[in-house]
C-alpha cells in the first residue's frame, strides 16, 4: 500500500497515522502529563505535609484555598490521564483475548473518570465552602 507504486502521497500516508489511526498522541500525552507531574510534585508534597496532623476544620480550610485547590486539580488531571494511558498499555501488553481486552480497557476508562471526577468534585466543594 505504501510501496513505490502506491497512489497515496506521503502526506496522505502520514495523515493515516498508522494502524491505530491515532498516531503518537498517547505517547505524547504520556510524556506531557509526566513532565507536568514532575513540575507539580514538590508543591503537592508541600500541601500534603501541611495537612499532616490537622483536624478536619484545619484541613478543609487549607484544601479550600485557591492556589492549593488549583495545584491539586492540575495534579489530579495530569495523574489520572497518565495512569489511564499507562494501564491501557499494560492491558494491551498482557490481555490477548479480544473481548476481555475491550472490557478491561472500558473498565480502565470508567475507573479513571470516576476517580478524577470524585476528586475534582471534592476539591470544588471544599473551595466553595459548603
Amino acid at each position: 500500500m505504501s510501496g513505490p507504486s502506491s497512489m497515496r502521497t506521503p502526506l496522505e500516508r502520514v495523515r493515516g497515522l498508522g494502524s491505530a489511526h491515532t498516531g503518537t498522541s498517547d505517547f505524547w500525552r504520556q510524556r506531557l502529563t509526566a513532565v507536568a507531574m514532575t513540575l507539580l510534585i514538590i508543591p503537592v508534597i508541600v500541601v500534603v505535609i501541611m495537612l499532616i496532623g490537622r483536624n478536619h476544620a484545619g484541613a478543609a480550610q487549607i484544601l479550600g484555598s485557591i492556589p492549593i485547590a488549583i495545584i491539586l486539580l492540575l495534579f489530579i488531571v495530569a495523574s489520572v490521564w497518565h495512569m489511564k494511558i499507562g494501564m491501557q498499555v499494560v492491558i494491551e501488553d498482557y490481555i490477548h483475548n479480544e473481548k476481555l481486552k475491550i472490557a478491561s480497557v472500558m473498565a480502565n476508562n470508567f475507573f479513571c473518570v470516576a476517580v478524577a471526577l470524585a476528586s475534582i468534585y471534592a476539591i470544588l466543594k471544599l473551595s466553595s465552602g459548603v
Binding site: M37, I49, I52, H56, A57, A59, M83, V115, I123
Partner: protein, 120 residues
C-alpha cells in the same frame, strides 16, 4: 525468558510498571481522603484513623516509595527519550541513580513530614 541474562535495567523496567499499577490503585486512597475532607469531620476522622494505624502507615509509606521511585525512574526515561544515556555504563548509572534516589526521597519526605507534622 530464561534465554536472557537478568540485568538491573530489565528488573527496574518491571518495577517501573509495578509501581505504576500500585499508584493506579493508590489513587483510591487519595480520592477517599479528598471526599472525606469534603464530607465532614466524621468521615475525615475515619481516614485519619486508617492512615494513623500501623497498616495504614505501611500503605502510605509504600505509596510514597512507589511515587518517588516511579518519578525518578520516569526522569530516567526522559533522558532516554531525548536520546541520552544509552551506553552500557550510562544505562546502569541512570538505573542505579533512580533506585537510590527513589529510596532517598521517600526517607527524606517522611523525615520532613514527621518533623513538620509530628508535633501538631
Amino acid at each position: 525468558m530464561q534465554t536472557y541474562r537478568w540485568t538491573l535495567t530489565m528488573a527496574l523496567s518491571i518495577v517501573h510498571r509495578a509501581t505504576g499499577i500500585a499508584l493506579y490503585f493508590g489513587t483510591l486512597l487519595l480520592a477517599w481522603w479528598l471526599i472525606a475532607a469534603a464530607s465532614g469531620p466524621t468521615a475525615y476522622a475515619n481516614v485519619q484513623a486508617f492512615t494513623g494505624s500501623a497498616i495504614g502507615k505501611l500503605i502510605v509509606f509504600g505509596y510514597t516509595w512507589a511515587l518517588m521511585h516511579h518519578l525518578c525512574s520516569g526522569i530516567r526515561h526522559f533522558f532516554w527519550d531525548l536520546g541520552y544515556g544509552f551506553k552500557a555504563n550510562e544505562r546502569e548509572a541512570l538505573t542505579w541513580g533512580a533506585l537510590v534516589a527513589g529510596i532517598a526521597l521517600t526517607v527524606l519526605v517522611w523525615i520532613i513530614a514527621y518533623a513538620v507534622g509530628g508535633g501538631r
